[in-house]
Amino acid sequence: MTNTHSEEVAVRLTGIRKSFGPTKALDDAELVLRRGTVHALLGGNGSGKSTALKILAGVHEADAGVIQVGREQWPARTWSAAAGSGAGLRFVHQDLGLFDALSVAENFALDAGYPTTAVRSVRWKELERRVVSLLDRFEIAADPRQPVGSLRPAQRTMVAIARALQDDDSTRAVLVLDEPTATLPAHESEVLLGAIRRRAELGQTVLLVSHRMQEVLSVAQDFTVFRDGRTVATLSGENPTEDRLVALMTGRELERAPQEPAATTAAPPAAGSVSLQVENLVSGPLRGVTLAVRQGEIVGVTGLVGSGRSSLLKTVFGAHRPESGTITLSGRSQSGAEDVKARMAQGVAYVAEDRVAESSLMELTVRENISVSRLRRFWRPRGMNAAEERRSAADLVRRHRVKTTGVDGVFSSLSGGNQQKAVLARWLCRDPSLLLLDEPTQGVDVMSRRDIYDTIRQSVSAGCAVLVASSDFAELCALCDRVLVLQDGVVTAELSGTRLTPDHLTAATQSSVLTTGDQP
């Protein structure tokens, strides 16, 4: 037990309840932050932790409960964004809300106001001085005049943090970070976590929400775990193991299945016929990629942001037209002019990286979201066969363990993990011969993640070939037979068997970055 931190309460939520229509998002949730600690809020998708954050931020109004910040208390119904900000809560959301085209200094000023002269014109010199001192205090190596878009990802997050705390970086302020590393590559996360750790050592109180267990364990002292809208555990000053936290989140002891190497690791490459053959593919950031994926095989693709992972998948799917090179699907060579529909007809399926922007039909029903990939199947001259469509959707929802209030519920009412499972169901019902997955479990909780892995493995044992693009090395090692590393648009390494470990992957993706001096 470490009791070096004060027992003074910085934030306390008690008895928080919140329902959305028929869905209870929070049911008697509790959360206590001790001043001067980094506190991790954990929970699966749909556990209510995003709702709790949104209530704290004043986006949603709680149905019941009490919110205490410092020594002051509010009934949760009267809580507001203004009250939170007045009490010293500072939020940095996953979407940082920065203006990429504007300078660092202006990003600070748009939040706190520009220093002005008597006639309301901006005093640029003073603004710059103020920002330089802020950047100094937060250890950000950036020029105030530099556009934010030109900063490294971790620096951008730090700018957002510094901006949130610019008017009050005393220890009174409580910094709330929502998934700060979700979209960062591994080494950028490290940089950012180091910076958060240094802030914490200076006495900063931090509430951290993240799906990445190892990161959370490396910075947080206290942990609160939500499940089904309730607080199931509060760990203070202990050093829990990852397994313990996962068990609390899931409510069951997970056999560590996702971490085990796939059983087919040693399978001979000649196991199935070639489903996808790509040769010298040039398209967008891709500069001559060659690879093959066989039936019954899961091949991973990784690489840093901008390495061309996503472009590779989109080009194979027909959403991008290649500049040169050949694509062969189950022996049929492609002209390159096929669009998505033509590739789908040849058995290709694709789950996009950005679920909200590229997969979801938010306002439509779960049923419509699933059947949209094969509308013709339900069409009869008399009209759409609604009964069959509903039956089929209900069956898929059950088989893929999508947690929903019914197939006619609105898609947006599902949690992120369940939306992703529904999107997967949309494609797997077509019995694809080649499944392309781009970051299939990004922002997905541990339980849904396991369901998704199960689903992928099942389709592979049915003879499907899978190509997974991911930046999550643990995921690639757990799921794939072999992993290709892309760097600057070409395949620079292939790892399989005993060499397929997160450490080897880190080394393979970072190699050129490390030797050329860590430039973005």
């Binding site: 749909g46 306002e363 439509l364 949690s415």
Partner: protein, 338 residues
């Protein structure tokens, strides 16, 4: 790997589900209920009750609203996929003037005039569709520009004069005929509405249009050829608008040098009113028809009750604002979980 499903706390209680069902039932039928209410009101109001329920009045009501109904139906096709088409009113006006001109100036038979007009309407739709999809021009501005352009052409073609003579008597006869007390033009609206209902609600094409309207990128990534689908919706809108223009000529017997805006705005109001009913939040055929009836019954009743000219537009505008406000509030209640 074990097949057991995690024991999950129930997320819904039956009572809550019932509340939601009742709320959505109220929401879907609110406009219909209002229509009935307004109709009953004018049937008992002393100032209007004698005439309002007469066969003559209802017949006039249906035939005058036929063109507005067709234009509203034309509008919802691109609207479902997320695009405005402001040119349908002007497109109908072109069709009215052109069909009259072809018959009176070139002595062409009615059938030829109709075919030419419908072809021109479809072509205007195709140009709109190509500009919006192929050249990715903003639909709002593009179709507004098209409407202005067509309005100018009408001025040029008619020289500002109304075309009165030489219009096929068969056409005018058709516009004045009733079957079983209901004007023939209303039957045409029913047929077009039935076809569009089938198309939007009962075919993969219609379902795809709704998907495009909700998220065009996601629609493209499930193999929907959205450019083609959207372009086709503009062509169909143009075709229906030109048919509305010919019906307008049949009903009035003359073609004025009007640019069609007087048809467009009530139609827009009806389409938006309709999107708050039946399938709230989405443009739909049945809702649109109810929207047209609601607006026309109310306006007819107000006119009979002796209201002044400014009352109808004020009523239309207020109804639209109320309906949209109402459905936005209910939509907010539905909320979103994490």
């Amino acid at each position: 790997m074990s097949q057991q499903v995690a024991e999950e706390a129930p997320v819904t209680s039956p009572l809550d589900v019932r509340t939601v069902r009742v709320r959505s039932l109220v929401e879907s039928n609110a406009l219909l209920a209002l229509l009935v209410l307004v109709a009953v009101f004018f049937s008992v109001l002393p100032a209007s009750r004698d005439v309002f329920l007469s066969v003559d009045n209802l017949s006039v009501l249906l035939s005058t609203q036929a063109t507005v109904a067709l234009i509203a139906l034309a509008l919802i096709l691109p609207l479902v996929s997320g695009y405005f088409d402001f040119s349908v009113g002007a497109n109908a006006a072109v069709s009215t003037v052109l069909s009259a001109g072809l018959m009176s100036r070139l002595d062409l038979p009615l059938s030829v005039a109709c075919v030419v007009c419908v072809a021109v309407g479809a072509l205007i739709g195709l140009v709109n569709g190509a500009l919006v999809t192929r050249f990715r021009m903003n639909a709002f501005v593009t179709t507004l520009g098209m409407a202005t352009f067509l309005g100018g052409l009408i001025q040029w073609y008619t020289g500002g004069q109304t075309i009165l003579k030489g219009i096929s008597p068969d056409l005018i006869q058709f516009g004045a005929t009733s079957l079983a007390g209901i004007p023939l033009v209303a039957y045409i609206v029913v047929v077009v509405a039935a076809v569009l209902w089938y198309l939007l609600a009962q075919t993969p094409y219609g379902r795809a249009l709704y998907a495009i309207g909700v998220n065009p990128r996601a629609a493209r990534l499930v193999g929907i050829r959205s450019e083609r689908y959207v372009a086709v919706s503009f062509v169909m809108a143009g075709t229906i608008a030109s048919a509305a223009g010919i019906l307008q000529l049949a009903r009035t017997g003359s073609a004025t040098a009007d640019s069609g805006t007087s048809l467009l705005f009530p139609a827009l109001a009806a389409a938006f009113l309709g999107s708050t009913a039946v399938r709230p939040g989405f443009f739909n055929v049945v809702g649109t028809v109810i929207g047209v009836l609601f607006v026309s019954v109310a306006v007819s009743g107000l006119t009979l009750a002796g209201a002044e000219a400014w009352v109808s537009p004020v009523f239309n505008g207020a109804a639209l604002l109320t309906a949209v406000g109402f459905s936005t509030c209910l939509g907010r209640h539905r909320g979103q979980a994490t």
